[in-house]
């Protein structure tokens, strides 16, 4: 895997509501190489979806503000492109799969139209040709091409998610942002959808940013992981490193909270406390309040990201001191 396809530098995003400012994403940096698949893991509200929407430039215009940062895609800063230029990239070079297949499709258009529309938008081809390619896409995700003329309500949840995936892949994107693509699905369907995405990835060599809160899915699908907490990436590295040698107390806590089948423990081991209120983030380390190793240093100022081994970044003072 060679050069960086996507490079996010110091991205910060805020949501302005009537009575508060929500600090959704704070100074996040990471990169995705060509063909790489990275898992963005974290709790609900950690800012994962906001990151993906920033890349695609589809944040809600009225509330969301990108405070700082650069998002380089194939060398260009997406944040500096005009809306027109972004439209050429959206759905073409970067595509997104949405979390809830039930609401992600327009209920009054046929699924075929919704796929063909994306194809026609980015390719100079005739309507009939777009239609044929949309039918091929449906076949590729395991839906008979004849169902082109059916409406979303005539599909089950898993089938709808396949349609959403077909739509995202319709123009062979270089980068796929998959926002919890399997969360709304049954476990059996989850496996099918992941298998399908894996096959497609091999076929098309697409890079994937997989947003999830499920470590199982990450282990199954990704090359590297970024663990997000309160709008920050607290730890980042290859799947091997993170799973075998998690360094950040939050990552460790997450792994410990996964119940093991081979132990006699009767109780779950959650991380105590709650994620800080994103409208009032603590000044020091965001995790200090819940961290079993927190010291005064932690609450005074936020730690930087330390590269403890090539490619393995941890945002924690403990690591710097070489303890634990």
């Amino acid at each position: 895997m060679g050069e960086n396809l996507l490079e996010i530098k110091n991205l910060s995003v805020e949501y302005h509501t009537d009575d508060a400012v929500v600090y959704a994403v704070n100074n996040i940096s990471f990169e995705v190489k060509k063909g790489e698949s990275i898992g963005l893991v974290g709790e609900t509200g950690a800012g994962k979806t906001t990151i993906a929407k920033s890349v695609l430039g589809i944040l809600p215009q009225l509330q969301a503000k990108i405070k700082s940062g650069e998002i380089y895609f194939e060398g260009n800063d997406l944040l500096k492109l005009s809306e027109k230029e972004m439209q050429k990239i959206r759905g073409n070079k970067i595509a997104m799969i949405f979390q809830d297949p039930m609401t992600a499709l327009n209920p009054i258009e046929t699924v075929g139209f919704q796929i063909a529309e994306a194809i026609k938008r980015h390719n100079k081809i005739k309507r009939q040709e777009a239609r044929e390619r949309a039918e091929d896409m449906l076949e590729m995700v395991g839906i008979p091409g004849e169902r082109y003329r059916d409406y979303p309500h005539e599909f089950s949840g898993g089938m709808k998610q396949r349609v959403v995936i077909a739509m995202a892949l319709a123009c062979n994107p270089e980068l796929l942002l998959a926002d919890e693509p399997t969360t709304a699905l049954d476990v059996t369907i989850q496996a099918q959808v992941l298998d399908m995405m894996r096959n497609l990835r091999q076929k098309l060599n697409t890079s994937v940013v997989l947003i999830t809160h499920d470590f199982g899915v990450v282990a199954d699908f990704c090359d590297s992981v970024a663990v997000t907490y309160a709008g920050e990436i607290v730890e980042r590295g290859s799947v091997d490193r993170i799973f075998n040698n998690p360094k950040h107390p939050y990552t460790q806590g997450l792994f410990e909270s996964i119940p093991r089948l081979d132990s006699n423990e009767n109780r779950l081991k959650p991380i105590k406390g709650l994620m800080p209120d994103p409208t009032h983030l603590p000044e020091g380390c965001r995790f200090a309040e819940r961290c079993p190793y927190a010291t005064e240093e932690c609450t005074a100022a936020p730690p930087e990201a330390y590269e403890i081994e090539p490619g393995h970044f941890v945002k924690c003072f403990k690591v710097k001191e070489g303890e634990k």
């Binding site: 589809i58 959206r90 595509a95 949405f98 609401t103 209920p107 009054i108 994306a118 739509m167």
Partner: protein, 329 residues
């Protein structure tokens, strides 16, 4: 779908029979006597009684009802007690005026209301949106007779551009239709705006944007078609209720419409006029609601499939073919 329409049309019959019974009952409960009104205060009790007998007013409830309803099915809506002219002829003559007023008033308000609503929604939280909301609030709150008087004063009296009353020329229609439309424009614009804002928040709009579609396509192709469905409902209701509620406009601009006719009939206790007038307006309203429901089904495949599924269960493939011919048409 065709089957559904036929079923709905057949359902109109019991509805209308019910309405006719209700109208007759209300007339019976209303004080006042047409015979007394016709003869005046100086007539004796015997003369009044004689006329009542002659007009058939003393017959039983169901006898009168049957006379009315059987007449209706033969195309005879009775004769006005006051003018002695057939009610149907008079209605048809006056109906044209009301229909022109209501159709142009509604078309006008749709043509303005929908774009204003879309504009306000797509410029949310800017001064443009606020201005649109503010103006529509004024328009909704303003009584239509007052607005009518204002425009008569300005365009009719001061500038003398338009005739102040009567509809002998087409220019005479402009002010009545505008007066009729004002409140409706605002009503439709507000409905359109709120539905549009609701739809623009939906996930599938984000999906559409994520495909790289232009704002235009997102708003007009994906959002509008979804947002317009509840607006169609409002338009249908507005159209139906204006048919019976055009009275004020008709009086102000001296238009010989249906509203005036029924109002006069009510004042004179002219029973055939009241009965037939209400029956006709009720029928039209029912037909409009039917049309709205059919439009719903055409726009929204989820509603359409409810009918199709029922058809499949009942009639199998034959009905599906019917469906397709309907769709193709």
């Amino acid at each position: 779908m065709l089957r559904y329409i036929i079923k709905r049309v057949l359902l109109l019959i019991p509805t209308l029979i019910g309405i006719s019974l209700l109208v007759l009952l209300l007339i019976d409960l209303t004080p006042g006597d047409p015979a007394r009104m016709m003869l005046g205060a100086s007539a004796t009790e015997e003369q009044v009684e004689e006329l009542r007998e002659e007009l058939g007013l003393n017959d039983g409830f169901f006898v009168r009802w049957w006379r009315f309803i059987s007449g209706v099915f033969q195309g005879d809506f009775g004769t006005s007690l006051m003018t002695k002219r057939p009610v149907l002829d008079e209605m048809l003559f006056r109906f044209r005026y009301t229909l022109i007023l209501v159709i142009f008033g509604t078309v006008f308000s749709v043509l303005l209301g929908i774009p204003i609503g879309i504009y306000a929604a797509t410029h949310q939280r800017t001064w443009k949106d606020n201005a649109a909301i503010f103006l529509s609030l004024i328009a909704v709150s303003m009584p239509s007779f007052w607005f009518a008087l204002l425009i008569i004063r300005f365009f009719g009296v001061q500038l003398q551009w338009l005739p102040i009353s009567g509809v002998d020329t087409w220019t005479g229609w402009i002010m009545p239709c505008a007066a009729m439309a004002l409140g409706l424009i605002a009503l439709i614009a507000r409905q359109m705006r709120s539905d549009m804002l609701e739809v623009l928040r939906q996930d599938y709009i984000t999906t559409a944007r994520s495909k790289g579609l232009s704002n235009r396509t997102v708003v007009y192709r994906h959002a509008l078609k979804n947002a317009v469905i509840p607006v169609i409902m409002v338009i249908g209701g507005v159209f139906g209720s204006s048919l019976g509620g055009s009275l004020i406009t008709e009086v102000i601009f001296s238009i010989p419409g249906l509203g005036q006719y029924i109002m006069t009939g009510l004042n004179n206790r002219d029973y055939p006029v009241i009965q037939s007038g209400i029956l006709i307006i009720a029928t039209l309203f029912a037909v409009i609601i039917l049309i709205v429901d059919v439009i719903f089904a055409l726009v929204d495949p989820r509603i359409r499939s409810q009918y199709t599924r029922r058809n499949k269960r009942e009639g199998g493939k034959k009905n599906e073919k019917e469906e397709e011919t309907v769709k193709a048409a």
